[in-house]
């Protein structure tokens, strides 16, 4: 994992992000150590691919106690080709694991919504696990005005 972004890539992304207000982050950017460990436990030796996953969350959350998130994945959701699970992590929470959704072809569409707690400004990571074992990742930053871990 932990592919280091080159300086040029980082600058290009930063410039692009500023110009367009884009939020999707370079999926391969470094994660905090506990998040990386949690992701590695889930993925084993499988690579994380980009694409197919859309993670929707507010740019700015005034209240970190309840931040709406939606994850959707491009998939036909048939018996032979479907999303089996979606794993959510919060990179800078006291514990990075947030939720795992278990999906079935009966859903017809691969999507899930919930509301999460974020202790501070940080990236949320969504990893979709396909029935053939492939993993796809998306990442989005949420700026938190008031943290939601009730410390």
């Amino acid at each position: 994992m932990a592919i280091r972004a080159t300086r040029r890539m980082t600058l290009a992304l930063a410039a692009g992000g500023l110009a367009l207000g884009l939020r999707p982050r370079l999926a391969a950017a470094q994660l905090a150590a506990p998040t990386q460990a949690a992701v590695d436990r889930m993925r084993g030796t499988r690579p994380l691919q980009e694409g197919r996953v859309t993670l929707r969350a507010p740019n700015i959350a005034e209240n970190g106690n309840t931040v709406p998130v939606n994850i959707s994945v491009e998939s036909p959701m048939t018996a032979s080709d479907h999303v089996k699970a979606i794993h959510i992590f919060a990179d800078r929470n006291p514990t990075p694991e947030v939720a795992t959704f278990h999906l079935t072809p009966a859903m017809g569409r691969a999507s899930a919504d919930t509301r999460i707690r974020l202790g501070q400004t940080q990236d949320i990571i969504a990893i979709a696990e396909m029935n053939n074992g492939e993993l796809f990742m998306a990442r989005a930053e949420v700026k938190v005005t008031i943290g939601g871990c009730g410390g």
Partner: protein, 110 residues
Amino acid sequence: MASPIGQPRIRLPTPIRVGEVIEIRSLISHIMETGQRRDQAGAIVPRDIIRRFEARFDGELVFAMDLAPAISANPYIAFPFKVEKAGTFEFSWTNDAGEERKLTSALRLT
């Protein structure tokens, strides 16, 4: 002592037609105590969360969720479902103590 699992609520859209993908929305009252907080005496308030949600249609598991303390109080969970026939949904919420709260709702076709 686990906090009570409050009243669950489910919202199915109407009308519902065969072949449609509907969104099922659920909400349940629960404190979702993280286990990170301290009380006024400085003692850690023990973790007490809903840790599992399941949705079955005519007995078949169609969607489930494992929850962590990072899920907000009064967990809101929504997911799609492809309608093939009328039937009965059964939803269940389970807390850390293994206590379960269930709700059934009928899926009727228009």
